[in-house]
């Protein structure tokens, strides 16, 4: 009995995972191999061609999603790292206030925030309309319904998830270690490259993971800011499920996206050197 105790204690956790992760996944996997329609019902036919069909039909949207997710992640990294660095090393006594400001937008719903960008960026809206009235922008200028708007929206919405883990990693860097590098003849740039950057990599790793995955799968930004020519895979899955009621195609697309992201994460972890990342994180 005593030897079983730890396993029994873990039981609620395992059951949670079983009910809310394994069962739905299995159900979705099963649906992705079925054929039929919403009126007559679906039947299991082990139709692996669902995957091929879905992929060939929506490869453009899938690739676009990966591209937009990737662009947004790069943009977030370029913006987020300096912000995290600044708060961690220059924030002084106001650190917690800056972190609070960073989280402040979360008090407004995700969809509402995205809609307000739509409002701000509208062709004749509060910003561009005024600038056009003043003759500072050409009449045909627009941002909405462009790649830029969607990637910008993704960048804006997920930025805190990039900044926070990097901040946590940088916060743990002992300033004396940086001084030690400078004492050992490293310039400021070299001290950053050889000491601060490697020590913050676990944060970068976590940040990229926490932003690239949801940004790639996100349907909201493309729908609200992207118009008709920037559809992402999240929108397709949503439409197939909710509008077309084509559950097998939607499930097949979901699984495909998940597989691609998992492989991507694995390759990324390998490339960055998981061992180094985990080791530094366990410091």
């Amino acid at each position: 009995m005593r030897r079983l105790t730890p396993y029994l204690l873990a039981l609620p956790g395992w059951m949670w995972l079983a009910i809310f992760l394994v069962v739905p996944m299995a159900a979705m996997a099963s649906v992705s191999l079925q054929t039929g329609n919403a009126i007559d019902g679906f039947a299991m036919t082990f139709s692996f061609s669902n995957y091929g069909d879905a992929l060939s039909t929506y490869s453009t949207q899938l690739l676009r999603s990966l591209l937009y997710g990737g662009l947004a992640t790069v943009a977030m990294l370029l913006i987020g790292y300096p912000v995290a660095y600044w708060i961690a090393f220059r924030g002084g006594r106001r650190k917690s206030m800056y972190l609070f400001l960073l989280l402040l937008p979360f008090f407004v719903s995700f969809v509402l925030r995205t809609i307000s960008w739509n409002f701000l960026l509208a062709d004749n809206g509060i910003l561009f309309g005024t600038l056009k009235d003043w003759g500072l922008l050409p009449e045909g200028f627009h941002v909405l319904a462009t790649t830029f708007a969607v990637v910008g929206g993704l960048t804006y919405n997920f930025l805190p998830f990039m900044i926070l883990p990097i901040y946590v990693a940088l916060e743990r860097v002992d300033p004396r270690v940086v001084e030690a590098a400078q004492d050992l003849y490293a310039t400021r740039a070299a001290a950053f490259r050889r000491v601060v950057l490697p020590l913050s990599l676990p944060g970068v790793f976590a940040g990229v993971l926490m932003t690239f995955v949801p940004a790639t799968a996100d349907p909201v930004n493309a729908q609200i800011l992207g118009g008709t020519s920037n559809t992402m895979i999240g929108n397709i899955i949503q439409t197939e499920y909710l509008t077309n009621l084509d559950y097998p195609t939607a499930s097949a697309l979901s699984f495909t996206l998940m597989a691609i992201l998992l492989v991507g994460i694995f390759v990324y972890a390998k490339a960055l050197g998981t061992e180094n990342v985990l080791e530094a994180a366990a410091r």
Binding site: V177, A180, Q182, D183, A190, R194
Partner: protein
């Protein structure tokens, strides 16, 4: 000591802005540290010793004054351009690098050829007895080993001076004593100037050629360990280094009447403060010979401390019997462990005139 200057500070002042107020951490320090010297900056926390060292290293710029290394003005030279290395408090090793990479860091930054790096790092690890542990990460090592990595990482660059900021503070007593001897050996071996910052007076006394005792941003006394212990320049130094007794009063004709007896202070008149170390005092029941200083009192406490007994003696004074001065006396347990005096005994305390040291006559 060759007599050449390794490090010179000329009237160095460091001011900080703290809560809108200017605070002087260092209030005008002038030091001349010789080539090859083991020099200690000793003082309580907040005395300015660490700030002084950080100005030598280049992490802080003095508000006023000059810092010279080997005769060259480096006051505004950044730390990475100073031919001087530092062993940090709690070591500040690079946690993501192996021992080898930690030690090789400075040489790599200086673009030393690879084969020379290999040779010098290997030699250095041998000196600090870490051969075979090159691939370890700092956190896999004990405190003493990390300490030696930090030392190797600095010394491998053959700096012209090494700064050590309380490097033994994190070690336990046994290891600390072993490392004190070890540090002194390494310093003799490499012949580099060591500047050692500590608040531990016994550490400073054990290792240093000279000590600057700092208090409140100023150097109170600059001298060798023996001189500082035997002839403290101020009441602060007397109190900070070891245990010390202070006797204050008005001297007339070279004699200070105090504690129902007299302290001989030849050549001093008027208000004087005299210090005498506890181990120089003899406890007796007879009035001492006239050439010795002697005071009278009552034993208030006897503490057995193994190699010696410590007595606290309330001084008798004038008519009312006591003036509140407590004199501490250490007496070796040479023959047997029985105390020479018991609590409540009336005793005479006496010492040779040369052991009274007048620190201030005002």
């Amino acid at each position: 000591m060759t007599g050449l200057s390794a490090i010179e500070l000329e009237d160095v002042v460091k001011e900080y802005l703290s809560h809108g107020e200017v605070v002087q951490a260092v209030k005008g320090v002038t030091l001349d540290i010789a080539e090859g010297e083991f020099f200690s900056l000793l003082g309580p926390s907040g005395c300015g010793k660490t700030t002084t060292m950080r100005m030598v290293a280049g992490f802080e710029q003095p508000t006023k004054g000059l810092v010279r290394l080997h005769g060259q003005d480096v006051t505004n030279v950044p730390p990475n351009k100073r031919d001087i290395n530092m062993v940090f408090q709690s070591y500040a090793l690079f946690p993501h690098m192996s021992v080898w990479d930690n030690v090789a860091f400075g040489l790599k930054q200086k673009k030393t050829p690879a084969d020379e790096i290999r040779r010098r790092v290997g030699e250095m690890l041998e000196i600090v007895d870490l051969t075979g542990r090159e691939k370890r990460r700092p956190r896999e090592m004990s405190g003493g080993q990390q300490q030696r990595v930090a030392l190797a990482r600095a010394l491998v660059n053959r700096p012209r001076a090494l700064l050590l900021d309380e490097p033994l503070g994190a070690l336990d007593l046994k290891l600390r004593q072993a490392m004190q001897i070890e540090l002194k050996r390494i310093q003799r071996e490499v012949g580099i100037t060591f500047v050692y910052v500590t608040h531990d007076q016994s550490e400073a006394l054990t290792m240093s050629d000279r000590i600057a005792v700092m208090n409140d941003g100023l150097v109170e006394q600059l001298a060798g360990p023996r001189e500082i212990y035997e002839r403290p320049a101020s009441a602060f130094v007397a109190g900070f280094i070891g245990t010390s007794n202070l006797l204050t009063g008005t001297a007339a004709g070279g004699v200070l009447k105090v504690g129902g007896g007299r302290v001989l202070v030849p050549g001093h008149d008027g208000e004087v403060t005299v210090t005498v170390r506890p181990e120089k005092i003899t406890i007796g029941t007879e009035e001492p010979a006239p050439e010795r200083s002697g005071v009278r009192g009552t034993v208030a406490e006897v503490v057995y401390l193994g190699t010696y007994n410590s007595y606290a003696v309330n001084l008798a004074d004038g008519a009312d019997g006591a003036d509140g001065t407590v004199i501490t006396v250490f007496q070796q347990n040479a023959h047997d462990a029985t105390a020479t005096a018991e609590r409540g005994d009336s005793v005479w305390l006496s010492w040779q005139t040369q052991h009274s040291y007048v620190i201030g006559s005002s």
